[in-house]
Every structure is written in C-alpha cells, then in structure tokens.
C-alpha cells in the first residue's frame, strides 16, 4: 500500500506523553517501518513556540530526507511580523514548501477576512494547500474560510479531543469542495471512510498518520480495512495529496 502522509510533526509538546515525540531520525525510521513514501512535515515549535524558529527546524529536517516535504506554519502580516504575504508564500515555495500550516488557536488568529484574507489570497495565487488541525479551528468556521477562498485547497486534520463523528461533518464536506480531511485518529466515525466515499466521493479524504501524536498503524489499519474499492483506497492513500502538491504553482 503506497502511502503519502499528509501530517507528520517534528519535536515534542508539553501536553503529550514523553514517548509521543520525534526527531529527524525517529521520523525516518517511522517512514521505513510503516512504508510511508512521502510525508508533509510540520514542527510543534512552529505553532507552540515560535513560528520562524519552528519553521527553521522543519526545513532543516526536510533537507535531511527527500521523502519529507516542508509544511511550515504561516502567519498573516498583521503587525508587520512577516512582511508581504505574496513574498512570504513565494519564498516558502521556493524553499520547498508544498503546503502550509495555519494555526488560528495557537497563534491567536480569527477566521476573519480582515485577519487572514491577504494571506489566503496569496496562497490562492499559488494554489498552495493550507493545512489546519481541527483543534485550531472548529469545522464550521473552517468551512466558512474555505468557502470564501474556493481556489485554496484546505486540509482539515482531526486532532484530540474531538472525534469527528458529529452529524455536521458530511453536509459540510459535501458543500465545500475545496475542503479535504485527513483520516488520522481521532477520526472516529465508524464506517466513516466508506460513508464519505459513498456519499461525497473518495477525492476529499487524505491519509495522514499524525505521527508522533498518533500511532501510524491506526490510520493504516483504518484505511486498509475500509470496505472501499482499491481505486478509492489509492486515492486516499496517496493520489489525492499528490494531486494537490502537483497543482502548486511554482
């Protein structure tokens, strides 16, 4: 089963167990062990501590292994911290980023056009996917953001403590074609992959392990044993993310 992992995180976080941490070597071992061919890499430090320091760690780690693709965190230039957003996005792409992470809760950002509009317009120009962990923004504001920027692919990643099995999920996904969701724990909708494939299509789901927060075998087992055709499985396992990455305007 070929896997393209939409979310691996570098480092450690104070609210996790000590064994839920990673460094470059443990990530490389995990890629080998789980047969993950490529992965988008973020770092805890970029959204829990300091964006530019964390992004430096992300780029350094990605440089150590060609399987790792940087997914740095981004901020808007709200108070002159990051400069022109178009230049910011262009610079990140030039350094190898093919997706960026947006962390509204951790970075004190509202899902509001006055705050994020210019940044997301810059992402739109380059068709750069924007990843948002679910704990950072609730589903409905997430969908609102996606609806206002329909040419930006958004990747919504389940994150504890939510279980992503409420009855809002499918209608919102169905109505927001540029909103994608990863299948990593705690995505806990029983027969959820099957139901989403049947009702919306497999094109909106992406494999992610969320290592080292989650055990990658959970997402692999969830996907492998989903009662879906091989073509849908391939789409979720790697083709959908591959398509989003290839569509980035370099």
């Amino acid at each position: 089963m070929k896997l393209f992992d939409a979310r691996i995180v570098l480092g450690r976080a104070i609210d996790l167990e000590p064994f839920q941490s990673s460094d470059v070597e443990s990530i490389r071992r995990a890629l080998d062990r789980y047969g993950i061919e490529r992965a988008l890499l973020s770092s805890f430090a970029s959204f829990r501590f300091d964006v530019s320091y964390g992004n430096r760690l992300t780029f350094e780690a990605a440089a150590a292994d060609p399987r790792l693709i940087p997914c740095p965190a981004v901020l808007p230039d709200a108070v002159g911290e990051v400069g022109d957003e178009d230049a910011l996005v262009g610079g990140l792409i030039e350094r190898g980023a093919r997706c960026v992470g947006l962390y509204p809760k951790s970075c004190g950002l509202a899902a509001d056009e006055r705050v994020l509009g210019r940044l997301l317009s810059a992402a739109c120009v380059r068709r750069l996917p924007v990843q948002v962990p679910a704990g950072e923004l609730d589903l409905l504001p997430m969908a609102g953001l996606a609806a206002r920027h329909p040419d930006v692919p958004f990747i919504y990643c389940p994150y504890p403590p939510g279980l992503y099995r409420d009855r809002n999920l499918l209608p919102v996904l169905a109505d927001t074609p540029n909103l994608h969701m990863t299948i990593n724990p705690p995505f806990g909708l029983n027969e959820g992959i099957e139901t989403i494939c049947a009702r919306i299509g497999s094109g909106r789901l992406l494999f992610a392990s969320n290592y080292p927060i989650a055990e990658p075998g959970a997402a692999i087992g969830h996907l492998a044993y989903a009662d879906i055709p091989p073509g849908d499985l391939e789409s979720i396992a790697f083709r959908n993310l591959e398509g989003l990455i290839h569509a980035v305007r370099l």
Partner: protein
Amino acid sequence: MPSASESLCDRVRARRPLPLDGIVDMHIHLGSWAAFAMPGNDADSMVRQMDRVGVAVAVCSHQACMTPEVAYGNDQVLEAMRRHPGRILGYASAYPVNDTLGIDEIRRCLDAGMVGVKMHNANRIPYTAERYTPIWRLANERRLPVLLHTWGGLGAHERLFEEYTDCPILLAHSGSTRADDYVPWAVRYPHVYLDLEFSGCPNGLVECLVRRASAEKIVFGSDMPWMPLGQQIGRVVFADIAEEQKRAILVDNARRILGLAP
C-alpha cells in the same frame, strides 16, 4: 496461515484478515447514540467488520449501559448473541437504582448466556456505590470479567480491586489520561487488566504498557462502533512489540479470561 516471512503488518497492508485464530475484541457496543453519528452499529454490520479484519469473537454491551434503559439494551445484546452465536458474546449491564434494574437484571442476563458485566459511570452511579455491591459479589463468585469504563481517577476504585479478587477487572480506555494513571494498578493487582481502546491512539502507548505492565495484562478492545475496528486493531498490529506479545493481547489473554478454548 501466513508464510513465515509474512507479518501481521503485511496482512493489514494486503487488506486481508489477520491470520491469528481466535482474536477476541473485549469491548464493543451495540446500537446508536443520540449525540453522534455511528453508521454500522447493528450486529450484522459489526460482524462484517470483524470478518474483514479477522476478529473471531467480540464481547458486547449495549449503548443503553450508560442509561436507565438497560433492560432494552440487554435484550438487544441477547438478540445479537442469538443471531451470531459464538461471534457476539454479551456483557450484562445494570442501572442499580433498585433490584429489578440491578442485581435481578444482571442475573436474568447471565442466566440467558451473557459472559460478563459492563459498568459505565455515565449513569452517575459510582462503581463503589453500595447498590453495585450485590453485582460485584455475583461477578466475583462466578469469576466473571467486569469491564469498567474509565478515564483516569482509578484510585477511587482501589477498594474494589482489593475486595473482588476472583473476577478479572478490565480497565477500559487504558492510557486515556496518562499511562502512569493505569500501569500501577495492573502491576499491583493480578486480576486487573488494561483494555486498550482509546480514540487518540497515542503513538508509543501500546509499547509503553507492554513494557511496564507486560503483554499478559493487556486485552484488545475496539469500542466499535464508537471507533472503527480496523483503526483500533491497527495500533496493536503495528506496535513495536514482538509478534507473541501481539498474540497475547489479541487472542490469549482474553480467551483465558473468558474461559474459551485456546
């Protein structure tokens, strides 16, 4: 059986049922729940999932174990047991505000073939409440497994671990708060076991519990349909532990607890 070089992980990647004979899921539920969508929550759907994954037996309580509607729920479990003999086993549940919904309901279910007791404190009755005492005594006397919904805070139950030493006590959602909240109880009490189901599937937790409490003190539970079976078993199959330890967790410990043939 798989070839010598084909690991359990290979079988998952190949989307084939796990080749271990007699895998037991010690923690599933039947029925729907108002607050969440739970497709595939009927017995037939869950047995289909078990077939895809290679799970032989699942021990089931009804969602009603968290409510006063336990008699309805227990009846549904009995029906599922009749419909899938040997595949679905039952936990009896009580809402012990009186004998009818308490000890009498448990006796009714055990007489009808259920194999254990499930307690869930969502019904706002502590496991240590006097009203549970006859149920604990009966489970202990018959050496029946008691599955406790837990989320840390196990010190409050220690009196039960000390008093009812003949019934295996399974701590559901082990590690859901911290591994440290769970391991000492399984180490200290031979009849206290760790049930693995946990929505977060933390990386390294299975390995930590095996290292500190031993594989012999751990049973597999998926919590299906609260969580997908494939996801929950994937975290055991891919854990960085020996294949014999996976077998102990998935098969041997549960069968010993249930008195099923190895």
